[in-house]
């Protein structure tokens, strides 16, 4: 089933700008494709991705069918203190997944 890959540096120095890479497995069915019978394949995509650090939102993305299958998103943040990143994906047909990663800032 759905699974996430998260890449966050385990350690960083205070003030460092770190890159966070995330990948969630998902078909991202666009809703614009037809089956051989002519029926439209219903849309099934991830519509939102949120990253929180120690409870505060640091990054958010609204996704559309133009995002490729298995959405891969990378972004940056400033390391300020040790803590936990929480990732959340939400989408069509009740899709909801979470993941987390910890960082030590010294």
């Amino acid at each position: 089933m759905a699974s996430a890959l998260i890449n966050v540096p385990a350690k960083a120095r205070r003030g460092d700008i770190i890159e966070i890479k995330t990948l969630m497995s998902h078909v991202m069915e666009t809703g614009y494709r037809h089956m051989a019978s002519g029926e439209l394949v219903p849309r099934d995509i991830i519509t939102s991705f949120t990253c929180r650090f120690n409870g505060a939102e640091i990054f958010r993305a609204d996704l559309f069918p133009a995002i490729a299958a298995n959405p891969f998103i990378t972004f940056f943040t400033t390391a300020t203190e040790s803590g936990k990143f929480e990732f959340e994906w939400g989408g069509d047909q009740g899709f909801s997944e979470t993941a987390s990663a910890s960082i030590t800032v010294e």
Binding site: I17, I18, T30, Y32, R33, H34, M35, A36, S37, G38, V41, F53, I58, F59, R60, A61, D62, L63, F64, P65, A66, I67, A68, A69, P71, F72, I73, T74, F75, F76, T77, T78, T80
Partner: protein, 159 residues
């Protein structure tokens, strides 16, 4: 759902008739549903609210020639400081010819440190991609890139 046999026969005849009208049966059927430059303009209008969009600051990194439109790596970066009083608030990416003009919206803040995001997108046709950055002072900056796609995504039929 089980269809009565006569209706599927009718469907088949309809499809065959349609194909005859078109003259050829393409291997991959690309449906005419596509965003138009007008849809692109209205999607941008929804983000900017009619404010002027200046060219610059934004860098849109995307291969100019794409073999497979199903997964196209894309990086958007904005050359702007990320200070609490002056930073990039969001980055919006649009296309011209997919069925829908939006690609993604990314919401950032001063804690982001660097206004740069990467993802992989789908492109249904050779077209123009536009990235717009909204700064904390309310100004908008943009960049656009023309991309040639040889294998289209999004609308091909499921075989």
């Amino acid at each position: 759902m089980q269809q009565p046999s006569h209706s599927s026969r009718r469907q088949f005849l309809g499809l065959a008739g349609g194909a005859a009208v078109l003259g050829t049966i393409p291997v991959v059927t690309v449906h005419p549903a596509e965003a138009t430059p007008a849809m692109l303009a209205s999607a941008i209008q929804q983000v900017t609210g009619g404010a002027a969009v200046r060219t610059g600051k934004v860098k849109l990194d995307i291969p100019p020639l794409v073999e497979n439109g199903n997964t196209v790596p894309m990086t958007v970066s904005v050359n702007h400081p990320m200070a609490p009083e002056d930073h990039v608030r969001s980055i919006h990416v649009f296309n011209e010819k997919n069925p829908q003009a939006n690609i993604a919206n990314f919401h950032l803040g001063p804690h982001s440190g660097r206004a740069q995001v990467s993802t992989r997108i789908r492109l249904a046709d050779s077209q123009k991609i536009v990235a717009i950055a909204r700064l904390s002072d309310g100004s908008f900056w943009s960049a656009s890139v023309d991309v040639v796609v040889t294998l289209a995504a999004c609308t091909e039929d499921v075989i």
